[in-house]
Assembly symmetry: C2
Homo-oligomer: 210 residues x 2
DNA sequence: GGTCTGAAAGAATCCGTCAGTCGTCAGAGC
DNA sequence: GCTCTGACGACTGACGGATTCTTTCAGACC
């Protein structure tokens, strides 16, 4: 193939893909995934619905790409903490706090996000699973580091990472957060406090045996 | 009021209530809550639907009473372990194992139980909340006992009980169990093993500071 | 020739209808 | 007087037709 200058075509296409993602994300956030039609996204960008399909195979694929981008951002921030300085216990705390804060912002700052998230979880579990794996991996690295430094006792990093994820699930899982808030079992402030207590207990359990 | 012998009327009424509960529970288990009509329950007992309403205000109230009976049974078994002999840590383990086992049996031995449970959780949260409170109370007593004996470090029994409940939520919560099994994240055997690991970690965290 | 569109097929969702169920009441039977 | 029934309104959930949305494709435009 020949072209004007190397990468021009691909660059334009990539830019359009990004524009579509931005417009779609804004619409999904403000009016919800279900209520947003592909025609709405196209109108926003002054193009035809058909043209959107030149860049994404389906509406669902657009949502998948948005979810991927979003979760990659969170995972990146998480890695930064994991690889940063400080005691392993503090990094662990920081990571779980970040995860909780992001989840709260994601699901409850903009109410309409809910069906966007549930659609992603139902249709693109792979993306979510990859994110969870990345979270567990980052946790595992911090745990292994802490163990190597003698800050924690001997441990199976992967298995322990999973335990920490499971133990703090109710501060991270959309369904559980929604249930807690809906049933008035707790509020945003108390939730954050309880997460700290849980982290205290877990980190104490990780300390060396004597 | 006068009557033949003391308590006769009330006894008959109580017996009929029990009969209705037994018949309803059997039907709910075998054909599901939604699919069971009050007429089905009445037919089973050779009475008219209307008569059932003399003993229960609604089909939903029948489900509430069944849930209450069921959960009271589990809570009783839990109390027995809590008040029994043995190290506090072992009793704690036993209690969580029992809860996990009962939940698994409840929700997945008989598939039809599912909508009975979800209906109870949606319509009669009070019953479930009371059960959870009783579980936390029993856990709290064991924790306080363990702390008094020096088996555990100083702790806030109520708050710590809640932490333990939260940390093990994913082995107890119907939605989470269903999700794990549906997504093939784990199976019944591995789940039990992971619960043990979590209990190891938590109990280690509870030990006195040195 | 590559980029995009309008029109149209196929899929999903909404909405009005209706059978069947829940829950009530006056009154029959003991 | 207590226990129960049969018959009646209120309501829910299921079905089918109409509408809207997703996706495709032949062809217009530059």
């Amino acid at each position: 193939m020949n072209r004007m200058s190397p990468g021009t075509q691909e660059d334009r296409a990539a830019a359009t893909r990004l524009n579509i993602l931005d417009a779609a994300e804004a619409l999904f956030r403000s009016m919800g995934y279900q209520k947003t039609a592909v025609a709405d996204i196209a109108r926003e960008l002054r193009m035809s619905p058909a043209n959107v399909y030149r860049f994404f195979a389906s509406k669902s694929a657009i949502n998948e790409a948005i979810a991927e981008r979003l979760l990659a951002g969170v995972a990146g921030d998480l890695d930064a903490i994991a690889n940063g300085p400080g005691a392993a216990a503090d990094r662990l705390r920081g990571m779980m706090r970040l995860l909780h804060a992001r989840h709260m912002a994601l699901f409850f700052k903009e109410k309409r996000m809910h069906d966007m998230v549930t659609a992603a979880m139902a249709e693109h579990w792979g993306v979510v699973a990859a994110f969870i794996a990345r979270v567990e991996s980052a946790l595992g690295r911090v745990l292994a580091d802490g163990a190597a430094r003698g800050e924690f006792g001997a441990l199976d990093a992967a298995a322990t990472a999973r335990m920490i994820k499971q133990a703090t699930l109710c501060w991270m899982h959309p369904v559980l957060i929604a249930e807690s808030l809906a049933k008035n079992l707790t509020d945003e402030i108390r939730m954050a406090g309880e997460l700290e207590s849980m982290l205290d207990l877990l980190i104490k359990g990780l300390r060396p045996d004597h």
